[in-house]
C-alpha cells in the first residue's frame, strides 16, 4: 500500500496501534521522547484486576514494537508540524522530517502532581508518598518502610487526590485510582500482615466485572478498613509519623488518626506532551485539557482535524485494558481513513 503513518508517543497505545497498522502493511514511525518505549507501564508492578505482572504486557508490547514496518525513534520530540496536500510533514528535534498520510497522537497522561494538594504534605513531610511512588517501591522489591527505616504500623490510603476536586481544578473522575487503591492495599497487606490499613474514600467506583469482588476480598480476607470521608489535612508529629484529620461521614464525626505512612492515590491529568502536540497540530482540547473527540459514542478516536487520530489516555483517563482496546480501534479508524482517501 505504501502509505506512511506517524505515531506520536511510544507508550501502550502508541505501540499497540502502530503494531496493528504495521501488520496491515503500513510504514509506521513511532516518535518517543524518552529513551525507551512502553510509557508509564514500566513503573507499574502488578495490574488489576487479575494481578498479572506488568512485565507480561511490557514483553507483549516490545514484541509488537518489532513488527516489520515499524521504525522506533527514541529520544525524539516533534519540533514542527506542517500540512501538505497528501497529509502532514513533521520535523523532529534532530532535524529529521517525517511525512505521513495520517498521524496518531498517543501522548498519554501525567500523574497529578500531589504538591498541588499542599495540605496533604507531599514533598513536605517525609512519609507522604503517592500511589505511583508505592508502585515503584513494590516493583523494586525492597522492604516497605518509613523514611527512617521503620516498618509502618499503620498506613492510610487517600482516594481521589487530584480527581473530583474543583479546588485543584480537576472535576472529573480518573477511573483507575479506586481499584488501584484497593489493589495496593491488598498488596501491602500481603507484605506486611501486621500493619493496619485504612482507605479514605468519597465513594468507591468499582466498575468492571471483577472489581467489586476485589473490594469485597480486601475487607474480608485482608482486613482493610474503609472510611468514608475526605481528608482535610495532614500534619507531621515530632517522630515524623503523621497526624491526619478527616471526617467520617458515615458516623458524622470528625476524626484524627496517627499513621506512619500516607499513600496518595493520585489521579490523571493531560500530559505536558499532549498539550504541546495538540497545540502544534492545531487540534481542539476539551474543557479538561484532554484532546477533544468529536463524538463520544461514534468517533472516540477522531480529533477536530481530518487525518489526525487519537489513541489512549491523551483523550481521557484510561486503564491499561481500556488503552489497548482504544488503540486497536484507533488502528481500525486510521486503516479505514487511508483506504477511503
Amino acid at each position: 500500500m505504501g502509505k506512511s503513518i506517524v505515531t506520536i508517543g511510544g507508550g501502550i497505545a502508541g505501540i499497540e496501534a502502530s503494531g496493528i497498522l504495521a501488520e496491515l502493511g503500513y510504514a509506521v514511525s513511532v516518535i518517543e521522547k524518552e529513551p525507551d518505549f512502553g510509557g508509564k507501564l514500566k513503573n507499574w508492578d502488578h495490574l488489576f484486576p487479575n494481578m498479572r505482572k506488568a512485565e507480561e504486557i511490557e514483553d507483549y508490547l516490545s514484541r509488537k514494537g518489532k513488527t516489520p514496518g515499524i521504525t522506533l525513534f527514541p529520544n525524539t520530540t516533534i519540533a514542527s508540524f506542517e500540512n501538505i496536500k497528501s497529509g502532514f510533514v513533521l520535523k523532529s528535534n534532530h532535524g529529521v522530517s517525517y511525512s505521513a498520510h495520517a498521524v496518531i497522537v498517543a501522548t498519554g497522561f501525567e500523574v497529578f502532581s500531589a504538591e498541588r494538594k499542599e495540605e496533604y504534605g507531599y514533598k513536605i513531610y517525609d512519609n507522604v508518598i503517592t500511589s505511583a511512588d508505592l508502585e515503584k517501591r513494590l516493583k523494586s522489591g525492597t522492604p516497605l518502610t518509613t523514611l527512617a527505616g521503620k516498618t509502618p504500623q499503620r498506613i492510610a490510603f487517600i482516594h481521589c487526590v487530584g480527581s473530583r476536586d474543583a479546588k485543584v481544578g480537576n472535576t472529573y473522575c480518573s477511573k483507575v485510582c479506586c481499584v488501584t487503591g484497593v489493589k495496593q492495599a491488598i498488596e501491602v497487606n500481603k507484605l506486611l500482615p501486621a500493619t493496619q490499613i485504612f482507605n479514605f474514600y468519597m465513594d468507591l467506583r468499582m466498575h468492571g466485572l471483577e472489581h467489586e469482588e476485589i473490594y469485597k476480598t480486601a475487607q474480608e480476607k485482608h482486613n482493610i478498613q474503609f472510611i468514608r470521608g475526605r481528608l482535610s489535612e495532614v500534619s507531621e508529629n515530632i517522630d515524623h509519623s503523621l497526624l491526619i484529620k478527616a471526617e467520617d461521614t458515615l458516623s458524622g464525626r470528625p476524626l484524627k488518626m496517627n499513621v506512619d505512612l500516607v499513600v496518595l492515590l493520585v489521579g490523571m491529568e493531560p500530559g505536558v506532551g499532549t498539550t504541546a502536540i495538540g497545540k502544534a497540530c492545531n487540534i481542539e482540547f476539551n474543557q479538561y485539557g484532554y484532546l477533544k473527540i468529536p463524538d463520544v459514542h461514534l468517533a472516540g478516536n477522531l480529533t477536530s482535524r481530518k487525518g489526525i487520530f487519537v489513541a489512549g489516555s491523551c483523550s481521557c483517563p484510561m486503564s491499561v485494558k481500556d488503552t489497548i482496546e482504544h488503540a486497536r480501534s484507533a488502528a481500525f479508524e486510521v486503516h479505514r481513513y487511508l483506504i477511503e482517501n
Binding site: 499542599e118 495540605e119 479546588k167 481544578g169 489535612e233 495532614v234 507531621e236
Partner: protein
Amino acid sequence: MNKLLPEIFIWPFIIGLAYFSIIVLYRFVRWTLGLSKIDKIRIWKGLRSRKTLDSAIEAFREGLLHRKIFRTNPVLGYMHMSLAFGWFLLIVFGHFEAVAYKGSLSFPVYLPIFFRFFVDGIETYPFMHFFASLMDLLLLFVLSGVSLAYYKRFNKKLFGMKKATRLKSGDRIALTALWLIFPLRLLAESFSAGQLKNGGIITQPLGNLFSLFVPLELTTPVTWLAYSFALGFFFVSLPNSRYMHIPAEVFFIFLRNYSVRLKKRVNTYSLVQVFSCSRCGICLDTCQLNLANIHTQSVYVLKNIRNKNLTDEVLFNCLLCGKCQQVCPVGIELIDLRITQRIESTLQYNSSYSYLAGGEVKQADVVYFAGCMTHLTPSIKKSMLQIFAYSGVDYWFMDEHKAPCCGRPLMQAGQYDAAAVLIENNQQKILASGAKKLVVSCPICYKVFIEDYNLPDIKVQHHSEYLFELMQMGSLPKRLTSEKSIYHDPCELGRGSGIYDKPRKLLSNYTSLIPIMNEKEKSLCCGGSLSNIKIQMSERDIITNNALDEYLQYSPDSLITSCPLCKKTFARGNKIMVKDISEVVAASIVQKNKSNACADKKVLEQAL
C-alpha cells in the same frame, strides 16, 4: 418693572426649595437621633472643636471641588466640579449682586435666583457690569459641566469608563431637571437681556440676536417659568434620587470627622453612608468580578439598601477585596458597610462551641497562631517553625492541634454571634499565655485580631512584619539569589491593613522584586477570597487566571505572597512557582545549615 406673573412663576421654585429643606432637615435630625449615645457625645464635643472647621474645609474640597474624583479621573472630576462648584459660585455671587442692588441684606429668597427678570438695565447699582459678566462666565462654566454630562451618557469612553450606573425613575426626573436648569437659565437671561438690556458679555449679544426674530414678550416669561419649574422639580425629586448624596455627603464628612464609627450593626450612620453615594460608578470599573460578568458591585448594594430590595445574591457575591473602597471618592466604608449588612441580613446560628472550653495554655513570649489556611499550606507552617527554632524564640503554637477558628470567616459571612464566641475563647487563651506578642500567619486572621479582639499590651503582627523585625535585629540570615520575583499584596494585608513596605523590604534581602503595574493599593485579588459565598469555582478561576496572566507578562521566576489562601489559589492555577514570604526566608536557613555542615566537614577532613 411691570411683569406678567411675578408672583406666580416663582412658586414652583419656592415650593420645591421648601419641600427639599424640610425633608433634608428631617433626615439630618433623624440620623442624628438614631446614633448611639457615645456617638452623640462625640458630635457634641466635636462641634466646638477644630474638627468642625476641618469638616467644613473637607466638605468644600470634596463636595464642591471633588478633589478625589479629579485625582482618579480628571475629566469626570471637572464635570462634577464645574456643576457643583460653579453652581455654588452662582448662588454666592448672585446673593452678592442682590446685596449690591438692594443695598441691604433683606431681600426675598428668590431675588438672586431670578435676578435678571426683576432688574432693568436702566437701574444702576455698584459693580453692575462686573456682576452681569461674572454671572455669565459662571453660567458658562456650569454649562460646560452639563454638556460633559450629556456627552457622558452617550459616550462613556471619553471618561475612560467602561460602565455607567443604571438609572431609576426618581433619578431620571432629577437628572432631566438638572440638565434643563442651566440651559433654561441661559435662555431666560438672554431673552430678558434682549428686552431689558441687563445682560453680560454672553447674554447681552445673545439677547440682541434673539430680539431680531423671537417674540420676547411671550418667550421671556414662559422661559423663566420653565426655569422655575426645572428648579422646583429638581428640588422635589432630589431627596428621592441619587442627588440626595449632595447634602448627605456633607453630613457624612462632619460625622466622620467627629469620630463616629461603624459598629457591625446597621444604624443611622450606615444609612448616612448609603445616602452619601453619588453613584459616580468609579467602583464599577475597578471590580474584578466584572471579568466573570458578575454585577454586584458596591454602588448596586448601596442602591439596593436605599431601595430596600437587596438580595443575598448581591450582598454575598463579593470578594471583599477592598478595591472599590480604595477608589471611592466619598470615602464610604464599603467593606464594613457590606459586612454590617451581612450581619443584619443573616440568621444567626445557635452554634455550640462548648468543645473549645479547657485546653492547654502555655506560657511563652510569643504566641503563634497559624490559622486554618496555613494548616492547609503546611510548607508555610513548617517554615515558620524552622524560623522560630533558628532564632531561638520562646513561643507557643496556639493552634497546633486543637485548632480554633479566628472568627473572621464567620464575621465576613455575617455570623456575628458565632464569631464573638470564638473571639472570646481565643482572647482568654492568648491573654493567659502571658505573651507580649501574637504572630499570625494568615492576613485574614490578622485583621480580626487587630479589629475585633481586645488584647491590651499584646502586639499583634503578621509574620511578614515579624520576620522583618527579626531581620532588623539581625536574627535572620540574608542570602540574595539571582531570582526575579513578583510580590503579590494580599487584600487583607495590603488594602485591609496597610502593610505594603515591610514585606518588600524583607524580600529585598533574598530576591529582586519586579515592580508591576497593579501593586500595593492597586493590587489584584487572587480570587480565592473566603468572603464570597455565592461565586462559582469557574468564576473564581477566571479571576485567578487573569491575575496570573498579568503577572506572567513580567516573566518572573516566582510569585511571592504572604497569605496562605493567595498561595493556595495561585498554586491551583498551575502556571508559576508560588511561595510564601516565610518559605523564602526559611530557604536561606536551610542553605546556611548546609553550608555550615560543609564547612564543618572540611574542617573535620583537614583535621584528620
